[in-house]
């Protein structure tokens, strides 16, 4: 068994031990007795003898002051050697610190520090307290996990690495961090995991406010876990979504729609200001926003987890800035008045391109209905190509700036792999992508379920749509099903990737042989409405789902101007990064950890700015979750002052002060007798 107290600086004892003889010497030098005449020493001699006889320690007691000073010195020396009490040294030899650096950790607490700063401080305390044989690893995580320091017992290194962890505005995802922790703490080799050589499971210490979106989906497979709760603040008002679009019929005007929600426990008054190209355009008084959360109860068990999606009545408003004249491309910003704990969601950014007439491309073997509907939409008449022409067309004919020069391409009854960056609406066909397949067909049917809140299905009566045959689509995971057919099969789905947006309709206008109509939809009033919505949705400038409005942590693919080899990205903080352009004329930039507007020099028009917005109800709900669970297991919370290894020097100094006090009393008693 190892001695539970270890000295971190034993050399200090040697250095300071030289003081002991010096003190003794000083004490004897100091002991110059005062000469006092008395009438007779008879009784004094007797008293001294009596005391010496009566008490074996009298000689020591005479030197009580010396003893006290020696004790004081010893305590000071001991304190200098920095002893620690290793309470759990044998138990947790591998400790992994999981440091949450998601957006909510940027909340500013009552002491004017961010939660991340507090978490770092706690982490450094844990490092200070760690035992001699303990190894520690630090993982910083937000939407992704980042290994800040791998297992080491170098405290200085650990502290340096903890200090170097930078805040992000990303969402909290613990899965990556858990996986990383697990993989690092699992030794590799033969015979490991046998009873003779058990796996030394690591102890996880989570430093977080407990707002972790995927915590419920995780399980702790090995080792133990504790959480150190950081933060108390809960007052936050945030812009949780923003949508910028050009007016469809009057392209010189833009409409900005923002959703503002109060997440705090008290009602607040806020204004929302609209800036275009940093110029104040309009201010809306939002009035009083009701509390978004019930006041925190004392009993932790009754605190509702911050997962409720439905905002309480009156805590959320949708602000529409409509008919804002702005004919050029621009950078849009909405900004909330007032201060709250989390600053990142007090503003939202967007970009918008200059107006141009909507251009549509219809690739078809001939479709009277679609061509008529497209021609009826505002903007230029559609360009109609046959599939053969489409496949054969040169890039110059189809592309401009590396992008499809049409705003929307409608592909009718045809699968194609020619998918330059752009927006596509497929009828009865699919984009030839690895994860998009037709796995079969179905017979006469009706739509079963649909999302009528989606902009594409606005004013569209889906319940009356019938179709003779339909494709069973297998779509990417991120695809959003807008209309659901029999057996949950998607009939209309939307997904976006790599600067391309796809709307895929699972049935064609005509049947496979293009002899009969396949659906009654074209005869319904809803069909032109759907086409209008779809074109507007796909071509509409900036939405939350627009590729140019990104979430923190996303990567942006940037099309470089021809001939450019280096792109310069200016971050919201003012720092610049350079991105080298690849052979295909694209640059990829992934360092968008903070919300704000990233501007790019050397990119084609339309790629010169990226808006990165928090837009995360979960992160904006900053009230710490004190009832943190991994899966169904509640994680033990530890007070911030938790110590695995107790530093003993403060106690020694306290004891030394106590001795000093006793010495003072003894000295005074001797003087005052």
């Amino acid at each position: 068994m190892s001695w539970p107290i270890s000295l971190l600086a034993p050399w200090a004892a040697l250095a300071a031990a030289a003081l002991v003889p010096a003190l003794v010497l000083l004490y004897f030098l100091k002991l110059k007795r005062q000469d006092v005449p008395v009438s007779s020493t008879l009784l004094w001699q007797r008293a001294v003898q009596d005391l010496q006889v009566n008490s074996p320690f009298q000689r020591l007691r005479n030197n009580l002051l010396l003893l006290l000073q020696l004790l004081l010195l010893l305590l000071a020396i001991l304190a200098l050697t920095d002893p620690i009490w290793n309470r759990s040294q044998s138990r947790e030899q591998k400790v992994i610190l999981l440091l949450d650096r998601s957006a909510s950790m940027n909340s500013i607490e009552a002491d004017k520090r961010t939660r991340l700063d507090a978490a770092k401080e706690s982490a450094k305390r844990l490092v200070d307290d760690m035992g001699k044989e303990t190894q520690m690893m630090v993982i910083a995580f937000a939407d992704r996990a980042h290994l800040a320091a791998s297992f080491t017992d170098d405290k200085a290194l650990l502290k340096r690495q903890i200090d170097a962890v930078e805040p992000t505005d990303g969402a909290s995802r613990l899965r990556d961090a858990m996986t990383l922790a697990e993989s690092y703490s699992t030794p590799i080799g033969e015979g490991i995991g046998t009873p003779d050589n058990p796996i030394d499971a690591a102890h996880l210490v989570l430093l977080s406010d407990g707002i972790i979106a995927d915590a419920a989906e995780l399980t702790l497979r090995r080792g133990s876990m504790e959480i150190i709760h950081i933060g108390d603040a809960s007052d936050n008002v945030g812009v949780v979504n923003m949508d910028v679009r050009r007016d469809y019929e009057r392209p010189d005007y833009i409409t900005v729609v923002a959703r503002v929600r109060n997440f705090g426990e008290t009602a607040v008054n806020r204004d929302l200001a609209l800036f275009i190209d940093k110029e104040l355009k309009e201010v809306r008084v939002l009035g009083r926003l009701a509390p978004g959360a019930a006041a925190a109860a004392d009993d932790e068990a009754t605190v509702t987890p911050a997962t409720s999606d439905l905002p309480p009545e009156g805590s959320e408003v949708v602000v529409v800035f409509d008919n804002v004249p702005h004919a050029a491309a621009g950078q849009i910003e909405v900004r909330l008045s007032g201060d709250d704990a989390l600053a990142a969601d007090n503003q939202a950014f967007g970009t918008i391109e200059g107006p141009r007439p909507l251009a549509t491309l219809l690739v078809t073997h001939g479709n009277f209905y679609l061509s008529r509907v497209l021609a009826a939409l505002p903007g230029a008449a559609p360009t109609i190509l046959t599939p053969e022409q489409y496949e054969a067309a040169s890039d110059d004919d189809l592309l401009s700036d590396g992008r499809l020069k049409y705003d929307v391409a409608v592909i009718d009854g045809y699968d194609t792999g020619r998918l330059p960056p752009g927006n596509y609406l497929f009828f009865g066909g699919i984009p030839k992508l690895d994860d998009v397949k037709v796995t079969g067909t179905g017979g006469m049917s009706l739509a079963v379920d649909w999302n009528d809140t989606h902009p594409v299905l606005r004013h569209v009566a889906v319940n009356i749509i019938a179709f003779a045959e339909w494709n069973r689509l297998q779509l990417p995971e991120e695809a959003e099903t807008l209309i659901e057919g029999p057996e949950g099969a998607p009939l209309l789905a939307y997904f976006a990737r790599d600067r391309r947006q796809y709307l895929v309709v699972g049935f064609g206008v005509f049947d496979a042989k293009r002899e009969h109509l396949n659906t009654n939809w074209i005869a319904k009033r809803g069909f032109p409405a759907f086409m209008y919505n779809a074109v507007q949705f796909l071509a509409g400038a900036v939405t939350a789902g627009n590729p140019r409005s990104l979430a923190p942590g996303d990567a942006a693919s940037i099309t470089a101007q021809p001939g450019t080899t280096i792109l310069t990205v200016r971050r919201p903080s003012g720092h610049t990064d350079t991105v080298s352009v690849r052979d295909d004329g694209m640059g990829y930039y992934a360092n968008m950890t903070r919300a704000g507007l990233y501007t790019i020099d050397g990119a084609v028009a339309g790629d010169t700015a990226f808006a990165v917005n928090l837009f995360d109800d979960h992160e904006s709900q900053i009230r710490p979750n004190k009832d943190f669970r991994i899966g169904d297991d509640r994680i033990t919370a530890t007070a911030d002052t938790h110590r695995t290894n107790r530093m003993l020097w403060p106690y020694l100094i306290l004891a030394a002060l106590g001795v000093l006090f006793v010495e003072w009393i003894v000295y005074n008693r001797r003087v005052l007798i």
Binding site: L31, K32, R33, Q34, D35, V36, P37, V38, S39, S40, T41, L42, L43, W44, Q45, R46, A47, V48, D50, L51, R61, N62, R669, R670, V671, L672, I673
Partner: protein
């Protein structure tokens, strides 16, 4: 105060002191005239008139003292015995060792005032008063003063006797006992801090059949020391040194020892018929003489 301190006459004989002595005189005369009448053998009442006892006649006895009346009745010879009349010899043995030259209020001065007062009272009563100053032996003496008018001799003796030597009662008492076989009252005024022990000296005095009074005078600084710190206590008599670190325990122990020392002195005296008196120099002098000494039986 140096070892050869000579008390100025003003210190012993300041007007206040003299006034008090006069008071004492009155008081003492009241005492002698009232309470003590008929109990004290007095020279002024004539010679040998007080009958004491009879005893059988033996050859050689003075025939004048035969009681012929008894012979007439019983036809046996009895001798009448009368109390012998003689002077009351008051001896005051004053400690003038250097240890008395200490304390605040000063022990030596206090002791001399006590001696002066007692001597004055003795003179007022026509007793034969002898003063002896002793330290390691009998150093100075003023024998056989009688009459109030000679008070100035007493005062000048007390003023001029220096503090010298160390307290050695045994030697002084032996010398005193050899030189003074008379019976009488002996008053010792001392601090009794005698490293040789007080017992031997007192035994010598007892052997002379004296009526002994022991007055122990201590200064407040001896009764309740106010020292502090690490000290080298130097004995003013023999330069003996005690290195002490004053602590509460030590002071308590000192006080216990002092009490035990005084108690042993008291017991020694009480067992042998010596009247023991203890006083601190803090006790006002007149209070000591008027109340305390009377209560203790020194003044009758």
């Amino acid at each position: 105060m140096s070892a050869s301190t000579i008390h100025r006459s003003a210190e012993l004989l300041d007007p206040e002191f003299m006034a008090r002595l006069d008071q004492l005189d009155i008081v003492s005369r009241k005492i002698f005239a009232g309470k003590m009448k008929g109990e004290r053998r007095s020279k002024r009442k004539g010679q040998s008139v007080e009958f004491a006892d009879y005893r059988n006649y033996v050859v050689g006895d003075d025939l004048r003292f035969l009681d012929w009346n008894i012979y007439g009745r019983l036809e046996r010879l009895f001798l009448k015995l009368f109390l012998e009349e003689e002077d009351l010899h008051v001896s005051i043995l004053l400690d003038t060792s250097r240890s008395m030259d200490w304390g605040e209020p000063h022990k030596g001065l206090y002791a001399r005032r006590v001696a002066a007062a007692l001597a004055y009272i003795g003179l007022c009563n026509y007793d034969r008063v002898s003063l002896y100053a002793y330290a390691d032996t009998l150093r100075h003496e003023l024998p056989g003063v009688r009459g109030r008018r000679l008070m100035h001799r007493i005062i000048s003796f007390l003023q001029e006797t220096p503090y010298e030597g160390s307290n050695h009662l045994a030697a002084a008492a032996r010398t005193f006992a050899v030189r003074h076989p008379q019976r009488g009252v002996l008053i010792i005024v001392s601090d009794f801090f005698d490293k040789g022990g007080f017992e031997t000296g007192l035994r010598y005095l007892l052997g002379r059949n004296l009526d002994v009074y022991a007055v122990q005078v201590l200064a407040p600084g001896e009764i309740d020391p106010t020292f502090a710190g690490d000290l080298r206590l130097r004995d003013v008599e023999d330069a003996d040194v005690a290195e002490v670190t004053i602590s509460r325990a030590l002071v308590n122990r000192y006080k216990q020892n002092l009490q035990a020392y005084c108690q042993s002195l008291r017991e020694f005296c009480t067992r042998r018929g010596i009247c023991y008196l203890f006083t601190s120099t803090e006790v006002p002098f007149d209070q000591l003489v008027l109340n305390y000494l009377r209560r203790r039986g020194l003044l009758r």
